[in-house]
């Protein structure tokens, strides 16, 4: 990527990664895949953490039988390796600090990783858990695309 700093960074929570690979909700599937397409086209940078990725992969292993889970795990791993930035587990100090914005330690783990990676958007299906989160947009993939559509239109409207 030529100008990494000027590209919008979007953090994927574990549930968004899981639904990217496997969901029975066609609209959610389509939205997550569209965010991935934008990433492949370098229009935004997708970020996740080792913790979110590991837990999403673990859920895929638990849902699918051995042979099928291998397909899901291998493909999700590959797409993340090729198109995502994977950030390490945040320090306990950072997680503790994030607990002032969310009450659940799981959400603090995700929020602190997203903020440490300088992401402006957090993609999750637990948006209600992050109502007090500051300096970050917490959206489902579908809400994110809706906002993106509006921002695109606004960006080209003649004053």
């Amino acid at each position: 990527m030529s100008d990494y700093e000027s590209v919008l960074r979007v953090f994927w929570d574990a549930d968004s990664l899981f639904r990217l690979a496997s969901t029975k909700l066609p609209e959610e599937q389509s939205a997550a895949l569209t965010v991935l397409r934008l990433t492949v086209l370098n229009l935004l940078v997708s970020v996740t953490s080792v913790d979110a990725l590991e837990e999403a992969l673990r859920s895929l292993r638990e849902v699918y039988r051995k042979d099928k889970s291998r397909i899901f795990v291998r493909r999700l791993r590959r797409v993340v390796r090729q198109h995502f930035r994977v950030v390490p587990t945040p320090s306990s100090k950072r997680i503790q600090a994030a607990l002032s914005e969310v009450s659940d330690p799981a959400d603090a783990l995700i929020l602190s990783a997203a903020k440490e990676a300088n992401c402006l958007v957090l993609l999750t299906y637990n948006t209600r858990h992050f109502l007090r989160a500051e300096r970050i947009w917490v959206l489902t993939p579908r809400e994110f695309l809706e906002r993106l559509r509006k921002a695109l239109l606004k960006g080209f409207q003649v004053a």
């Binding site: 690979a21 895949l33 991935l36």
Partner: protein, 72 residues
């Protein structure tokens, strides 16, 4: 019949030509589309409680975070 030197050179040059960025992106997008279409088709055949799977996922993340915070 042996190939002419010109034909051989042409082939070598062709092999060595790097793919354009557009072509590389198009191929990658196609690959991603194909792979995810297959995954989604497999997912549609499976019966599982998606909300429960996500709840358990969240629970494991909580345990992980609590362990990092030294709460366990």
């Amino acid at each position: 019949m042996p190939k002419s030197q010109e034909a051989k050179n042409h082939k070598t040059q062709h092999r060595g030509t790097p793919k354009s960025d557009g072509m590389r992106l198009a191929k990658e997008l196609l690959r991603v589309e194909r792979e995810f279409a297959k995954m989604h088709a497999l997912a549609a055949q499976m019966s599982f409680d998606e909300e429960e799977v996500l709840r358990q996922l969240h629970e494991r993340l909580r345990k992980r975070a609590e362990s990092l915070l030294g709460r366990r």
